[in-house]
């Protein structure tokens, strides 16, 4: 029981990070029907941006409050990563729009390789640790066997930030005219342009929003694990993509749900079975779900009324 609660907390934390990355995959797929394979590396870049600013703020500028530093880092990481996302779309994807379907996909793989190698060259190949940020834990209760169920401040921060930013994001997409334009382009690009929507700008915006959310994930990832390396974009990226597919690619709530499910499967499997096979477990569940629900859990079926 104690282990179960503890793993639930850990799983939800990990799942929120996957969910945040998954939104970027799902939104881009929704609007231009392309899997942005470079998204995982954009996430990794954002973790490095966060790391650099965190070091600058704490050791050079001497900001002692971890929460203040974290907030500033988050804002800066989101801004700079958005710029990365925007640039990548502009340089690598937009010129290929209208060419054959695989072209942007191949370009995305190229960007992915470029980003991880670029970071390897400028930051080095070793793991980069952060100075410890928030270490305290709250012991929730103690089990009979003496096993402490604890939630760390880090985990609380990650869940709260994720929840708050997801709410802001949800409001943006559902209630503002910017979000409406985004959804319109996703549903019918041609019609959106007939209604005066600048489709190219809206696609750029989608990449910017996806990158900003990946930056939140990157900052949280750094906070949680305390280390990041140039190759850290790949596995979380693939997991988040899996989450997006599991939840139903194109569906925003599906991406978050899928992220949480993947996070939970991974942690529970590691706790009760063997940690070596946690990825096998996660991907097997994906395969099983897709057999019975080909468009994912919250994905819409392909049929539409004409």
């Amino acid at each position: 029981m104690e282990i179960f609660v503890q793993q639930l907390i850990n799983g939800l934390t990990l799942g929120s990070i996957y969910g945040l990355i998954a939104i970027g995959y799902t939104m881009v797929f929704g609007i231009i029907g392309m899997v942005n394979f470079a998204h995982g590396d954009v996430f990794m870049v954002s973790a490095f941006i966060a790391l650099i600013f965190f070091v600058i703020l704490t050791t050079w500028l001497g900001i002692s409050s971890a929460l203040v530093a974290l907030l500033i880092v988050l804002v800066l990481a989101m801004a700079l990563t958005s710029l990365w996302g925007w640039t990548v779309e502009r340089i690598a994807y937009r010129p290929l729009r209208g060419s054959f379907r695989l072209a942007p996909l191949i370009s995305a793989i190229g960007v992915s390789i470029f980003l991880s190698n670029f970071v390897q060259v400028v930051q080095g190949a070793r793991n980069k640790p952060t100075p410890p940020m928030v270490g305290e834990v709250i012991v929730l209760f103690q089990g009979e066997s003496g096993y402490n169920v604890a939630i760390s401040y880090k985990q609380i921060i990650i869940m709260v930030f994720t929840a708050v930013l997801l709410s802001i994001f949800w409001y943006l997409v559902q209630k503002t005219s910017l979000g409406r334009a985004q959804r319109a382009c996703e549903q019918d690009r041609k019609m959106a342009s007939l209604l005066g929507i600048n489709v190219d700008r809206t696609i750029s915006l989608t990449f910017v929003i996806g990158a900003a959310l990946a930056a939140v994930a990157g900052t949280m990832y750094l906070l949680y694990y305390g280390v990041v390396s140039f190759s850290d974009g790949f596995v979380p990226g693939v997991k988040a993509f899996t989450a997006a597919v599991l939840g139903g690619i194109g569906s925003l709530p599906g991406a978050v749900l899928g992220g949480l499910i993947i996070g939970l499967i991974e942690t529970f499997w590691s706790a009760y079975f063997s940690i070596e096979y946690k990825d096998v477990a996660a991907f097997s569940i994906l395969a099983i779900v897709l057999i019975f629900m080909p468009s994912g859990i919250l994905g819409r079926p392909e049929v539409e009324k004409v």
Binding site: S177, D188, S193, R300
Partner: protein, 258 residues
């Protein structure tokens, strides 16, 4: 001779501006890849008119309508709207020039509510008079009022058609392009929609360009009409003239041609 020439030169600019059409299509050729769809179309729509374009399936009617919006773009020829050459203007900028379109296939946003679809139409002029316009389209189409919070994709075909027209009206366009508003609708609803088009033209002074396969209704309603056959305009005249024309009657009005 020379005095006569000078006279014409002095008179013509005035005469030209007085009769300058709101929308003018000159020698427009449009291709899909290497296949030619419009083979040099000339057409005018004057302010305050209802102009209809009739023709069989695949004649290029919808292509002309989309070419006016630059998607697909005309490879040759010019399109002028309100005195401006819009042949190379991006589609979304054309849409901001007070032209609205209810396109082929209706193209309402299926996963947005009826209300959001109408908001999309109103966003072109930044929601100026949104409440007023919403009120007005709800009066024109009471069915939509009942379904404001329903998703567009769940509407019936006729309701979707109404929504597509209503959405186009939300921006208070000067020129309204309607592509087959009667397609697939019950006769009673067709009559309603044609009544609404007439009302928009007469009461609001809206200029309307109507593409139709339902030639009889369209020609009765329109001031002028054009007939299109495989990418060419083959005939033009007032609605009455075309209705009385034996060729038009044979091809589009009588017998079971379509």
């Amino acid at each position: 001779m020379s005095t006569a020439g000078a006279n014409i030169a002095m008179q013509s600019p005035i005469a030209e501006t007085a009769r300058q059409p709101l929308l003018s299509v000159r020698g427009v050729k449009t291709y899909y890849g290497n296949i030619i769809a419009l083979k040099g179309v000339d057409m005018d729509v004057h302010e305050g008119e209802i102009v209809t374009l009739i023709g069989a399936n695949g004649a290029g009617k919808s292509t002309l309508m989309m070419t006016i919006f630059g998607n697909p773009r005309a490879r040759e020829g010019t399109i002028t709207y309100a005195g401006k050459d819009i042949t190379q203007v991006p589609t979304h900028e054309i849409a901001q020039m007070s032209i609205a379109q209810s396109p082929e296939g209706r193209r309402i946003f299926p996963r947005m509510t009826v209300f959001e679809n109408l908001q999309m139409g109103a966003s072109i002029n930044n929601f100026a008079h949104f409440d007023e316009d919403l009120e007005r389209v709800c009066t024109l189409f009471p069915r939509l009022k009942e379904r404001l919070q329903q998703r567009g994709g769940t509407l019936s075909g006729g309701e979707q058609q109404m929504l597509a027209i209503a959405r186009a009206l939300m921006s208070r366009p000067k020129l309204l392009l309607l592509d087959e508003p009667s397609l697939g609708l019950a006769p009673l609803i067709v009559k309603q929609i044609f009544d609404i088009i007439k009302e928009l033209n007469e009461k609001d002074g809206m200029t309307i360009f109507l593409v139709e396969q339902n030639a009889y209704h369209a020609l009765k309603l329109a001031h002028r009409g054009y007939v299109m056959v495989t990418g060419n305009i083959t005939m033009s005249g007032t609605g009455k003239e075309l209705l009385a024309d034996p060729q038009v009657r044979a091809a589009y009005l009588e017998g079971g041609h379509h």
